[in-house]
């Protein structure tokens, strides 16, 4: 089994090496993209550890946040929506991985929807105009040919 290596960040001492080795590989696909995604760690007022997965540049807003409170892990999105909570970080990591994937799929779904709307608009608005001009051309063509 290969062990993935990573540099520990400033403040990352709040998370154990073992915890980071569970979280980071799960988010590897998101972090490996060259769009400025990063991870950061922080702490609540009460000293509870937080792990943030940041979105792409330039905004780098939090996409997912894992917090550890009294041995329990809390997974939230960047709007504070509670996604999952469990005592096992491995289970949380699986949910985080799925949440990142679903975020990407929702972007793909939006692109497909946009494409369908464009196609529909072309079909509804542009095609009748083309048919109309084609009909005019069919009517005018013999007359134009007669003049020629």
């Amino acid at each position: 089994m290969s062990v993935l290596t990573f540099e520990r960040k400033q403040g990352a001492e709040l998370w154990s090496e073992a915890e980071l080795h569970i979280l980071l590989p799960a988010l590897n696909a998101a972090l490996a993209s060259e769009d400025g995604r990063e991870w950061e760690t922080g702490m609540t007022e009460r000293g509870d550890a937080q792990f943030y997965l940041l979105g792409p540049l330039p905004d780098q807003a939090c996409e997912l946040c894992v917090s550890r409170i009294c041995g329990r892990y809390i997974l939230e999105d960047g709007s504070g929506r509670l996604l999952f909570e469990h005592q096992s970080l491995a289970v949380i990591a699986l949910h985080a991985k799925a949440a990142v994937r679903s975020t990407r799929w929702s972007l793909v779904a939006r692109a497909v929807l946009l494409w369908c709307m464009i196609r529909h608009t072309i079909h509804e608005k542009v095609e009748p105009l083309l048919i109309e001009s084609e009909e005019i051309l069919v009517h005018l063509a013999p007359q134009l040919a007669a003049f020629a």
């Binding site: 990573f6 609540t44 937080q50 330039p58 807003a61 809390i74 939230e76 709007s79 504070g80």
Partner: protein, 109 residues
């Protein structure tokens, strides 16, 4: 796996790379919110309870500058912090959407 952008400096200290402006402004907003919460005499836990949240972790997320106060929650935050909602939203807009703030209200004095 992507390597962290913090690197060991010559003196052994960790050095930060340049933080994007949006992130920096969110952090300033977070600091401002933290001050307002302190003035209201609330802990993160107390504020979260008043906002009907199960956990207080999102308050920390916002105050640490990683997330924004959601627009739909601004009024509730303002009320719990004892602030006028419109002024609260206007002030946060200064950090979250500085260009929009400039267009609407001109440059900050």
């Amino acid at each position: 796996m992507k390597r962290a952008k913090h690197q060991e400096g010559s003196g052994g200290k960790l050095q930060r790379t340049v933080v994007p402006e949006a992130r920096q402004l969110r952090k300033e907003a977070g600091d401002w919110l933290k001050q307002r919460r302190a003035e209201a005499g609330l802990s993160q836990v107390a504020l979260a309870e008043r906002l009907g949240m199960k956990y207080y972790t999102f308050i920390s997320q916002v105050e640490n500058g990683f997330s924004r106060v959601p627009t739909e929650a601004m009024e509730a935050w303002a009320i719990q912090l004892g602030l006028e909602p419109s002024e609260f939203a206007k002030h946060l807009l200064l950090y979250y959407e500085p260009e929009l703030y400039r267009l609407l209200f001109g440059k900050r004095k």
